[in-house]
Symmetry: D2
Subunit: 269 residues, 4 copies
């Protein structure tokens, strides 16, 4: 006979908001733009625990993931940009039959590879973007959190104004988070586009010399503080999407050993 | 003549909440429990930027840190547990004369080494704890955020109940955050104590065989879910300190490749 | 007209052994056990530079990767365990026509997900393993380096002997590297098996209570020092594979804040 | 009575080259340039285990560190640049009386903060450098490994030649390792100087506008491939120090999402 310690009353009665598993890597096959892709995302899945229960049954959370996976493979989920969040909601739906809870969260972190064209030679190049999707169920309502992290660059306008057009340039990383209702249609690719187009210039994996020249010229034509990048991202996000926005840009300064940060958001915090 | 591009009006007018420098490592000498220690903390310091200014003068933030440092060396700051936050406030005070702002934040991350006694042989052992202190000025009022991260362990009560007293044991990491007024006196050492005493057992750098036996016996006497650890931390924190609490415990499960998480807080989020 | 600075003679004449690109994430589709999988590995590809050349043409290295990728998709590479190294050799073959060199290296890092069965309930569970494959061309000969990193656990035999069968248990990570000729057939799955079977017990993503009990009992039946794990891995590796071996095991001690390490190799270093 | 499982004969007889503790953070006070500094380094300390012994007594390694520390505080070790390696040798000396072994290694990783002067305004600035020192005893002879990691930048000469003096600039990280006899006098500061002076320009924590202008102008006067930086480091190292050298330079390209690497060494590998 199995003892269910989890069902006992704990010595200290305190409600816990998020209990579950994290840093779980597993395979996810989703249909993205009409083709099936295999991802190996990192998952976090949590539920709340009422004050009078000692613990949760962790293996049921894992089962919710694995059962959803097999189903996802069969079902051939259609649209790319909704699939990670639909995967998340599917996992919560499976969990509902398995484990009582009021609040549930699923977080899925992975890397997308998008096809781009180099700026001058017009070659195909594949660019990596880190993304994270969270699906949060509170009572019966669902909301989602979409995050993208994009690498670009900044050319300093202040140094340019003081050095006859010469300036320092560096790699920068921009992050955009949108928190919105589950139904709101927002493609991760469009969020990536908002961030990538806000730097001094986008970056590319493949650059022939003519492309490199185009990027160099482009950066000098478009000098930006990290502040400018952050402002442009939130400005475009407000125009393009419905939701609450959080923007963070980190610039790995080429003239300093430390980084520079600009962060903003449009909600009360 | 120097052009001050930062003072120009930006093309896109958006207020930015946090602009500054991050991941800056520098030396800090503080007087801690009557002795002078040299730390090499990582700093983040940010201010807000109004919609009509293009950027901030980053070097003034760096100067606020370095000037405070030299002063700290002279002044022989007194009390250990307040020193990191006083260092933070000092930096903001220096910044006030240098750069206009409404909101300013200083974050200082470092490692504390505390002297402990081994549980059976009574030897001296030195234990490392990661801590972070944030000082936030909004208008004229200061608040602070104190964070400690403590390594301990959990012995699973469910496996113990089902395997005649045998169970799986693993390293776990507990984090406690307190957000409170600047004046509230809370020692980082006391916060560490709250977390460390909430595991199945504390851990030690030095353990002779008799000590190892004491730790092993102690863990089996005190089986705990990661949920139990989280509940005990927030419970003790509420009893010991005044402020808003956030608790996160991560257990590096010995029977899984993934981690288990329990997180809770006592404010609306 | 484009200036080819790379072809100039450098001021300082020094041969460089490894010049190229690193931390490049891109998509790779390979046929693994008869099914096509999409990976997003991290690549490093380098060549040597003779003393009289200033630099290399970096974009040609990127082209070697991307051209090999498109080909790999068409060709439907057959055997699972050879595919990462064949991908590596393919990249070098493409590079040969593009850029002169004597030595070339390709390193591919990714995560494999393998299907396992839980120890008591016999359910399907998917387990993640980090792997790295290096292909090194020196003159006309190819060698390869295969690396696997496996998570398991250790139950301390010393504490067990001194505490009536009670002991401390923790997560441990074992790494096996094999350096061998390119032709030698060694499956990454077999290397993973060698490491995973050398711990006190393997770990699983999904464990129902009966499975958890089996793992707990198994760990207590099979106490091991980190030293025992390292010895067993190199012993089995020598019996199973032909090549030079390097073994490293790190145990995240549950009674300490630091880790314990055991490392060995069978060649002169 | 305590059972010494470590002294038993293991089931599998295999010599282990490196067994011990790693990732141990503790406090170290050393006298550096006539002033006493507190560091919190990360330690690794290992010894070899003969085929017929099951394990080592880990706590004796910890004791060797802690005893050396208390001594170091009293002794007031003299010269800065030798102190980390003397600390390492002291730890091995303590270990000799505690635990039999043929080979012993101590590795100490920390951050140094050096005082610099900004290039135009002549202000004091404090710069962080990651360093690592290894002391290796084989039989009765000691050798040491010194490593420094320095942040600087590169301005691409190829893009400069093709874009009328405009180019892409980025942060780069240079590493120099020297492996030599224990007696050889090599200051970590001198190794840092070798690396820092080999970039397009050094970087600074504090830069007023006139300093920033000096750095920008300096970078454009001194364009360098990552290959040039690596060549200059090894060339200067050979002229300045006696030993075996390993050089690695990584450039965080501002026009790519990946990094560029140049690596070389002057010994057979």
């Amino acid at each position: 006979m199995i003892v269910e310690t989890q069902e006992e009353k704990p010595a200290i009665m305190e409600k816990l908001h998020r209990v579950g598993i994290t840093n779980l890597k597993t395979v996810a096959r989703i249909n993205w733009k009409g083709r099936t892709y295999t991802f190996i995302p990192t998952f976090e899945i949590t539920i709340d625990v009422p004050a009078e229960k000692k613990g949760i049954h962790m293996s049921r959370l894992v089962e919710s993931i694995t059962e959803t996976m097999s189903e996802a493979v069969e079902e051939e989920v259609r649209r790319a940009h909704t699939s990670l969040e639909e995967l998340g909601r599917c996992i919560i739906k499976h969990l509902e039959g398995k484990h009582p809870h009021k609040r549930a969260e699923v977080w899925i972190k992975t890397t997308l590879i998008l096809e781009r064209e180099t700026p001058a030679s017009g070659r195909v190049t594949y660019e990596p973007y880190d993304v994270e999707v969270g699906v949060i169920k509170e009572g019966n309502s669902f909301e989602k959190v979409l995050r993208v992290k994009v690498i670009g660059n900044t050319a300093c306008p202040h140094a340019m104004a003081n050095n006859n057009g010469k300036t320092h340039i560096q790699r920068a990383v921009g992050e955009l988070e949108v928190r919105t209702t589950f139904e709101e249609r927002i493609a991760l690719e469009d969020m990536i586009e908002v961030v990538e187009s806000s730097f001094s210039h986008p970056t590319y994996t493949l650059l022939k010399t003519v492309d490199e020249n185009a990027v160099v010229k482009g950066m000098y034509r478009n000098p930006k503080f990290v502040e400018d990048v952050a402002r442009e991202i939130i400005h475009k996000a407000k125009r393009s999407f419905k939701g609450k926005f959080h923007v963070k840009v980190i610039s790995h300064e080429s003239i300093h050993k430390h980084d520079v940060i600009a962060e903003t958001w449009d909600y009360f915090m």
